[in-house]
Subunit: 289 residues, 2 copies
């Protein structure tokens, strides 16, 4: 997905939010914003927003000296989500269709996202879970997903945010584990999950976990490691969580199921739905479709 | 008031909204945004936000070739407000304290503002009127205003937006007309009122109307005409409507009453109130305070 002009104001808001999170130094905040403005003057709008997002978070890390500004937020949401885990696990096991229920909960977990303008508090997570169990979702796409999982030999599950990945674990538990590899980001960017979060969430004990070698909040293949690109090439099914993976992969010619909660009006317009919608969507670029 | 870092994302949103209003040409929208970004890289944050606002709207006019992009919006809200006028006029005349009621309604009219992120539709105006009649407002400041009006020889009433100025007319009718001069902007900027709007609203038949010689959405004295600055100097009381006049005059050493509805979080923080608040406030910089 290209960068829309609507993203530009949001980039500045994100940069400021992130700079303020890491420091009270208003001079630093201003230097970060002027650096983002300088880059935005000549930015390439044909690239997905995640490319500028990467520059923003690199700039905040560079100007503040903090390697991982969202570490405590990631820890908080991992703990919070682990608190939900036992109840949700039982709920899935008691369900008539555990895979369907786990898909809904995995998407609900995508509310834990600091790359958007809205604010998240603990209460919103409760609400997101309740909504996800009642929300409309295409039964046909779910059956496609079920069939694709059954037919696939090599499944890559691309994670998104810390905290959220505890909800991914619930879905991973419903998939054929020996076929699944879970993918985290190669370096810190916003609250996106890295290997440490996969360990905390118990995913490393469940399936193979690799990282994509990049600090983009998404999957920009040309910025990922050679090793990850091979694994991506070999996989016959991709499950991709969140807006960042959607915007960086929706033009890629591959069998990808996107699981996300739509949190921004630009993504909503691109998908053709409303903000707040739970989305399970098969990649339109896939030639088999 | 200085420009806060929070204003920067909002500048880009405003520029895009305004560019889209005037044209469907996405290439032009992009050129406008890159021009604003270039200017924002080196902008002077000690200036009020209205200074960058002026550059934004000058750029939209320059790149689009439209002299007055908000003309039809201004006409719409003038007509809409004139539709309310007879009922509100009666309501004021039937009130036990016509001045107090007219002050509230004048502030309610300040909801008609296109310089903010939120959207305005006709229904919101109804709601704003209802709320303004119930809202908290400092009785002490109102009495100060009543006393200041009584004591003043030369009152300048600085208008803000088209449509809104019909509500200003209701308040002007409660003031000693021979002492009052109503001020409009010297050139088009967003939906701010110019002389044409004062004529449509019937204000030119009521009191003297002058313009300030500038196309800032506020009152930047150093950008106003020499003639206006003299009138400002000579006045012993200023009534200033809206956020733009607040942010450009709140540091000026003069007896000013600000009448506004707070529509943005930055202004709210500066004043020390919540967004949505109706404000009648005497300038803290006035030495007599």
């Amino acid at each position: 997905m290209k960068t829309y002009l609507d993203c530009i104001g949001c980039f500045l808001d994100q940069a400021l939010k992130s700079a303020r999170l890491v420091s009270d130094d208003e001079g630093m905040h201003e230097r970060v914003l002027r650096e983002i403005l300088r880059a935005a003057v000549k930015m390439d709008l044909t690239q997905p927003p995640a490319v500028m997002g990467r520059f923003i978070h690199q700039t905040v890390r560079r100007f503040s000296g903090h390697e991982d500004p969202y570490r405590s937020i990631k820890d908080h949401f991992n703990r919070l989500a682990l608190g939900y885990y036992p109840r949700l696990k039982k709920d899935i096991e008691a369900s008539g269709d555990p895979l369907a229920r786990a898909v809904r909960l995995a998407i609900a977990g995508n509310i834990i996202d600091f790359a958007v303008r809205s604010r998240l508090d603990d209460a919103k997570l409760d609400q997101a879970i309740e909504e996800s169990l009642r929300a409309d979702m295409s039964g046909a796409v779910l059956e496609d997903f079920r069939g694709a999982v059954r037919g696939a030999e090599r499944i890559l599950y691309l994670g998104d945010n810390a905290g959220e990945i505890v909800f991914d674990r619930l879905l991973l538990e419903q998939l054929p584990r020996e076929k699944v590899t879970f993918v985290v980001r190669g370096g810190p960017v916003i609250n996106d999950a890295t290997r440490a979060d996969a360990e905390t969430a118990g995913i490393t004990d469940l399936v193979e976990v690799i990282d994509n070698g990049s600090d983009v909040a998404g999957t920009m293949l040309e910025m990922c490691s050679e090793e990850f690109r091979c694994r991506f090439e070999e996989a016959d099914l991709i499950a991709a969580k969140g807006q960042g993976n959607y915007e960086t992969l929706n033009q890629v010619n591959k069998d990808i199921f996107f699981l996300l909660k739509v949190k921004c009006p630009v993504i909503a317009r691109d998908i053709g739905c409303e903000v707040g919608r739970l989305v399970l969507q098969r990649n339109n670029s896939f030639p088999g479709e």
